[in-house]
Assembly symmetry: none
Homo-oligomer: 400 residues x 2
Amino acid sequence: MDLDLIRSLAIPGTTKIVLLSSDGLGGFPHPDTGRSEMETARLPHLDALARRAACGLIRHVGPGITPGSGPGHLGLFGYDPLRYLVGRGVLEALGIDFDLRPGDVAARGNFCTVDGEGRITDRRAGRIPTARCVELVERLRTMRLAGVEVLVEPVKEHRFVLVLRGAGLSGHLSETDPQAIGQRPLPVRALAPEAEHTAKLVNAFVAEAARRLADAAPANMVLLRGFDQLPVLPRFPEVFALRAAAIAAYPMYRGLARLVGMDVVKTGGTFPEEVATLAAHWDAYDFFFLHYKDTDKAGEDGDFAAKVAALERLDAEIPGIEGLRPDVLVITGDHATPAVLAAHSWHPVPVLVAGRYAAADAVERFTERACGAGSLGTVPSHHLMPLVMANALRFTKFGA
Amino acid sequence: MDLDLIRSLAIPGTTKIVLLSSDGLGGFPHPDTGRSEMETARLPHLDALARRAACGLIRHVGPGITPGSGPGHLGLFGYDPLRYLVGRGVLEALGIDFDLRPGDVAARGNFCTVDGEGRITDRRAGRIPTARCVELVERLRTMRLAGVEVLVEPVKEHRFVLVLRGAGLSGHLSETDPQAIGQRPLPVRALAPEAEHTAKLVNAFVAEAARRLADAAPANMVLLRGFDQLPVLPRFPEVFALRAAAIAAYPMYRGLARLVGMDVVKTGGTFPEEVATLAAHWDAYDFFFLHYKDTDKAGEDGDFAAKVAALERLDAEIPGIEGLRPDVLVITGDHATPAVLAAHSWHPVPVLVAGRYAAADAVERFTERACGAGSLGTVPSHHLMPLVMANALRFTKFGA
């Protein structure tokens, strides 16, 4: 659905909407029990909510496609993730709360190991400790390139972010990472004429980085990929006519919310603190994006029991959210992270939409299988916000 | 699906199709009983039909979007309502059986109240009685503007239709209704260069209307919106290779059918009379669009019991329709009108497709929830006609 159409239908109102994204919510059956994390956890409040809500499954990008956190959340915000693209470099910068500005070119960096002939022997430099990454980044960030600022920020282990800041830059660049062992890093090529100048600057950065890291094996070279600039996205508060606040303990999710123009409100590092922040800002906003990270973290760690526990901790916070009496409460996730895969997956993710006009269906539990039989069916993620708007009585009729 | 593709597949045949649109068919559970209007009504004939039909839900425009009657019906006729748009002024003219001609510019008019300074105090002029509207329209329709005919027709209460007829007119005009109290009506602006002349004419009409209505408070001013001209739509009988007849007691639905080139046959004001009309014209047509209004009217009135009764009256007429032995009988609606909302809504609408090749599914009742589990799934409204064509064996194979 087109955002211009949404903009033309959105009307102001007094209703309150909470969109709770439990990161990596969906899971997969444990081989021993045949039950998924959601089917194993005791989730009395979520199940009760599912009984009085319309339920379904969210497919974020397309059949079989595993979404990253960026497209996963953009879809939940109502933006077709195949149409509104955010580069990896930009996402990496958002993930460390870097103040990326319009015109900046950002890239994901890896420290890597090269042999005497410059051939890659380890694309991740033996996953050096983050403290070492910080030291090596110090060597790079003092670099001077003509006409641009060179900003380098450590991320974690072998990962860093490179940002070039200056006039006339372009992110239309090829990657230096050949994605294979035994090959030399590739020179960056301009993928559009306006990127020729930026390509030269990046190649100069790489050459100088190789000199400065020559004695730093295993981290004696860099690989760069995902060059991009901040996209210009339609602003969520204007498209949906909602005063929108984001409450997220992790920088990546704050960054994504900021990218679409939501207000990012200050919150503590735990989910109970996030819920307290929600309560504190209840009157000031119409729409709240609330992010819960623990489900994804446990899934990524491949820790089935930890993911079950994370779900049960989430469940315990539901009464606090319901106590605020949102007109529409939506609970879903940005992608599945099954513990058995220890990674994001393509499986569609449970969703529940609770509200006076949502019409309960026969779903009795908030699980992958139960929601698969729900009345919402399996829907693209960017169809969720229009449905939420309707349930909040914030859409006018289309045509007379 | 593209109408050109449909046109290329449609083949003549001898089969008969009835598309029964029960306006505002879908509802919503009553808070006391948890059952919707369709779940409350006794519908033995519709339920029996559902048992031997393929069932599903129709989503008319998009997720969360509440369709007006225009897009609601265009979708049922096979036209993607987001692609084939009909303006409000045109719909209002169709709604009073006005003989709108190509090139005419139509607008919705409201009588309104303005204070001594010309500021709006009531956008609906206290909903003056229709008889008063007729009197005031008499004052306006004698107006002369250079080079065009000025046609003004009363609708109901404070509403009227303005039509300008002449050469070189355009409907690309802004509205005069500021949609707010305390402001002056806006001058009409041309939204395209070719509309400059029409804008001048409309502003002259408004100025003269203000003079003629000066002593007619509370109806001492007019507001105009939804300027548009008759759209040129592909002709239904040609696209689908069907001799198509529309049977509808209400002018709006006759107008919509005429807009796509269906024959509108004369009928009485009640649904049993419509069914008699259907029988009388059975041999002359291949396709019948049959419209039942009472379900929508009761829903709009917020009268749950009246909607239940309207459904039961519809059910009583089903044997009369089935007695004609249509090859394909489709029953659905143009949108939901839940009594609890007293308005159109975004909820998908039950549909049943009965025919020799439609394949019964497990659905046993013609209700929102039962049809939600039907084999058709939840489908866009403009996908229905291709399915109906196939069931009537009126589509040839695509590709060899």
